[in-house]
Amino acid sequence: MIPFHVEFRPGATIYEQVVYAAKKAMMAGQLRPGDAFPSVRTLSRELKINPNTAHKVITHLVQSGLLEIRPGAGTLVANRPQASPAEKTQLLEEQVEQLVVESKRLGIDFEDLQDAVGQHWKRLKLRGTERT
């Protein structure tokens, strides 16, 4: 089983979307340092993607230092320092941009948008964790 979720939408290439999903999973703790990362075969089979694309994904993640290949153990999630707030925010760039674009289209001003975000922030808790 692949321990992270990928939902394909038109827009970014399949390769980009899988890399993105993997990075998010690492930041959200679904993939922890030392965890085995799915093989090319597993990625290809479960996500129904071209094995070449799966290979590209893993190569990229290895080259970015997010995965490491340990002889005998396979491909594992690398031990990396925690991602910076800037890096984490960058992953949500698309959603943030969308929110800003839609707000401007509807003529919502910045203060009202901030209020709306603040309200949701106070109200919502991740199920199973204490977080504000």
């Binding site: 394909f8 939408r9 038109p10 827009g11 290809s44 993607i49 071209n50 094995p51 694309t53 289209r105």
Partner: protein
């Protein structure tokens, strides 16, 4: 990179009808090439010519380095071909069919045969006439994969099959795709979109485009323009703008040569200052419909 399939001005005429009109396409080694297009576009005709089941009227095709008209025994042992309609003797049992096929292929792999049967849930003892449509298709695919073919050719393999069977076929195919080249004609665009590396669009015998999936996705956009006041339809409409429609203050069309700067500039030239322009990427199904509907326009 060698071309595993290459066609040059491939043409097929039936009396007055041009089933294929000067088709030039190339499938590179290791590609998963999807040939798509409306019914009657010539997809099955193309495949039959490539497999040397029918002859072309003019032009050439080369498969695995061999002229398609010269494809005989040896070439067939390197090609796994699954056609739309499986005509396998109903009285044969699954195991017997595979045993029969084994002798034709020097590279037949018994272990792979076993693992494919297990993966596809096919009992050796079942008579083929007792198999459902989906199981027959899985059996045909197993028979085409068990000898590690260099080229896998599938003609509409998913027709009328339920999602589970489709999934199983795709999984089986993708597992072998790493060591083969795949040529598949299909209407199931959402399925193939996730694994095809290249797409060719055939319409009434003409190959309208043939390119990498990523390039195709990059140049097609649904464009929505919100005008200041009433919308105007530009005249003439730029050739790359398909399906242009307008209503109230909104104009919508499909841009098939999208490049952000160029397209935005062209929109400004035709529409002047507008309230908003939105570009939406399109999946393969939406692209197909935009192309297919082109013919509907008066």
């Amino acid at each position: 990179m060698t071309a595993v399939i290459r066609t040059e001005e491939l043409t097929k005429r039936y009396r007055g009808l041009r089933a294929l009109d000067r088709v030039n396409l190339e499938v590179l080694e290791g590609a998963i090439y999807a040939l798509v297009g409306p019914n009657g576009a010539g997809k099955t005709t193309s495949i039959k010519i490539l497999m040397n089941l029918i002859g072309a009227t003019s032009g050439h095709a080369t498969v695995l380095g061999v002229d398609s008209t010269l494809i005989r025994g040896k070439s067939y042992t390197e090609i796994g071909y699954v056609s739309e309609n499986q005509e396998i003797p109903g009285w044969m049992k699954v195991g017997a069919l595979l045993q029969y096929l084994r002798d034709f292929y020097p590279t037949w792999d018994r272990e792979l045969e076993d693992s494919l049967l297990k993966q596809f849930d096919l009992p050796r003892d079942r008579k083929i006439r007792a198999l459902s449509r989906g199981m027959k298709m899985k059996l045909a695919l197993a028979g085409a994969l068990a000898f590690h073919p260099k080229l896998i050719v599938l003609d509409e393999p998913f027709g009328g099959l339920d999602p589970l069977v489709r999934d199983q076929l795709i999984e089986g195919l993708l597992e072998r795709a790493a060591e083969s080249t795949v040529f598949i004609s299909s209407h199931d665009l959402t399925e193939i979109e996730s694994f095809a590396s290249h797409v060719g669009y055939l319409e009434q015998g003409t190959l309208r485009f043939s390119e990498e999936m990523t390039a195709l996705a990059a140049r097609f956009r649904e464009v929505e323009i919100t005008c200041e006041g009433e919308s105007r339809v530009p005249s003439p409409v730029p050739a790359s703008w398909l399906q242009l429609k307008s209503s109230a203050g909104v104009v919508r069309f499909v841009e098939n040569q999208f490049a952000e700067d160029k397209t935005t500039a062209e929109i400004r030239r035709h529409f002047g200052e507008v309230k908003n322009v939105e570009y939406r990427p399109m999946g393969l199904r939406a692209i197909f419909l935009a192309m297919a509907r082109k013919g509907d326009e008066a």
